[in-house]
Amino acid sequence: MTETKTKLTIGRRPFVAGAGGLLGAVLAGARPAAAQNAARKATLVIGLDISDSISLDPARVAQYSNPLPCHAAYDSLVTFSPGDYVNLKPSAATEWKMLPDGKTLRFKLRQGVKFSSGKAMTAEDARFSFQRVMNLKDQPQQYIATIGSVKVVDDHTLDMELTDPTQPILTIIAAPEFIVMEKAVAIAHGATDAADAKTADKATTWLNNNSCGAGPYRLTGWQRNQSMQMVRNDHYWGGKPGYQRVLIRHMSESAAQLLAIQRGDIDVAFNLIPEQVAALKGNKDIRVEGATSLDFIYMAVVNSPDNPALQKKQARQAIGYAIDYDGIIKNLIGGHAVRPTSFLPVGVNGSTEALTKKIGFREDLPRAKKLLAEAGLPDGFSFQLAYGKAAIAGVSYENLAQKIQADLARVGIKAELAPMDQLNLRTMYLGGKAQAVLTFWNPPAPENLLWAAASIDRVSKRVHWDVPADVRANVAAAAAERDLAKSAVLWEKYQESMIDAANQIVLIQPIYQIAVRNSVRGLRLTAAGWMAELDKAKPV
């Protein structure tokens, strides 16, 4: 008894030495010159929070991070190039035109486009892909509801018949939801474009881990909350892509992304906050690239049945003229933002920073006080300002709300802060029960009507705005106008009416700060909805 007990005990020193030795053995060589070896060099590693992705089947993409891999794996018919969200560029289609009947769009497909399987892309592949989205009836389908039918004319010609040609479609089908996939491969894995695709299509599981497109890279795997893997598509029509592999690594914490890019474990960090970006200044190996987004943070001011003051237009306008916009952009987001006039971000047709200076809200306290007096509220009023416990581009709604509270207090307007979780906030806001809300808007595609229609059809209900008939008519006319210069004038008029109604006060349109290691060349950031163009990225 005594003997065995004695044998079981381990002396203190050998124990400590043993444990230390084990730890050393585990860690020794745990950092196998990974950053230097050849495999690492031929791999582009992107650090990104991908926890929102629920599908990589393009027909089901409706989140923030999944357009990136989908755009890299598949080509759409038309596209936007980085920085220009007004003029469409050719992609899988080289030309397109409206036929004389005024309702049929005819696309000429590019010659020599090959899928990652090596097979040539035909109009039938494109028809199948669109028909599948239409019959699958997942969220992307709503945006192309105006497509009545898609028909093959010949191998490289596709006709798209629209039920309502005044509705925009070309700008929308540039998005990664509306791409061309290889019909035969998709069908082999359970896809169908039949009318009952909603229940009969079984390809999503396969498409979540594989792709069958003609983009520069091919998807080979996805582990949720972990990583997405892609390999080079050697058949890519736009020239041989620069990397053998692309890895999108899930990193939910921005601080972890910062450490990882400093160490060289990732090449691109997408989710850094302004302080972390500042910490990279002077780093010889890393550059910071700004990409003006088409997203914005806005304050909805509701004609609330519970708050008589807010029902007065001048009172809402007074809020608009009492906010220190420059202070918000300078201090809360380090100057990395622009501010649009109203519900159309800077960068799309008819929305510029110059216009904001001309007709937008600006800090003008005497005017705010005058408006309050006109509203019969010379001593100000109070209202409830709701916001979520979250942050966008490193700006927490909490800080923003406090800043606005302080600004408005200068003219006697009292904002009572009401923080809540996002779920309650959204339920309350969508139900039209809020008085004022700080929230965020990001578009599915750079199409003016997607913002404008939202503001007069949906957001208007939430803010109890009875949209005048002439505002509606103007939006319809602007959307139907195919001449960009002419429609720009109409869109300016739309923004003027939005300022007058003063139900949405747009505060920040972030210029996202993306850190890229200097070993990466040719990666172009875009605000069109898929974050980056990977086709020309290459190691140096």
């Binding site: 079981l8 203190r12 969220q139 899930h250 939910s252 601080a255 599915p444």
Partner: protein, 337 residues
Amino acid sequence: MLRYIVSRLGISVVMILLATVVIFLIANTVPGDPVLMQLGDLAASDPVRVAEFRAHMGLDLPLWHRYWIFLSGLLHGDFGESIVSRRPVLQDLIEYAPATVELASISFVLSLVVGLPLGVLAAVRRDSWIDHVARFISLIGVSAPTFWLAFVVLAVFYGWLDWAPGPGRLDPVSFPPTPITGLLLIDTAWVGDWATFRDAAAHLVLPSIVLAGSTLGLITRTTRAAMLESLSQDYVRVARAKGLRRRVVVNGHALPNAMLPVVTLGGLAYANLLAGAVMTETVFSWPGLGRYTFTSAVAVDFPAIMAITTIVAVVFVAVNFLVDLSYALLDPRVAKR
């Protein structure tokens, strides 16, 4: 003994059911609508789509009916479909659980292997330097916020010293092995892929130390206190008086009697590690259950919440059950009572 086990089992089942009822009711009192959160703005404003989604998820049924569906599904091993990920919850759990189990198990072993001897030594050499070290470690372990601790070790050992690998379960460029159990150490060892095994082991070091922090502190403290009490008992004094060597007195007489509270705590601590790794998992981008639990709770993803609640309840109850059984083994008087 058999009666003891049977009665314990009966109580356990009732406890699990009660836990699911309570969580089901709490989750349903949240005023927010999970459907609005999951649909895009256009879809969320379309009453037809909202109603369709609600019906698909069974959210339009009366409360009792939904609970019944949950219960009958549970009996068939079906947890329903997640509102957030839109796939069977079971599939989500199978994907996320192994990462957490692996991390929690390593952390648990770590806190036992370090905490037990440290606690014993601290008690035996009370007020010596080792006692002070033990108390310092347990104080830091229990009181330092996990989030902070995680960042500090990551910044120091990864960012600064470059001794340990960064966040995640594997190096960015290494391919994850085909899942067999999902536990990377076992899967890689099984197929003899020792390079990936080492990679996975190295990635476990920092997060498991961080996660072990609080458990380690508790185990050290409890062991020390229990040992001090044991050492002051009459039988220890008798043993000493007989002239037995100190090692024999400590390991043979005092330690077994000090084990009871440590085992209780250890069991609960393991269950806690499984359920409470949210912070560590977030900082280390660990694709585990903690993060999944958090997102499910925020999005009021009923099926996922119910599944996790059931599993956590089962784990806690099972651990308690095992602890009770081990009491009977450690202290024969328990079973006779």
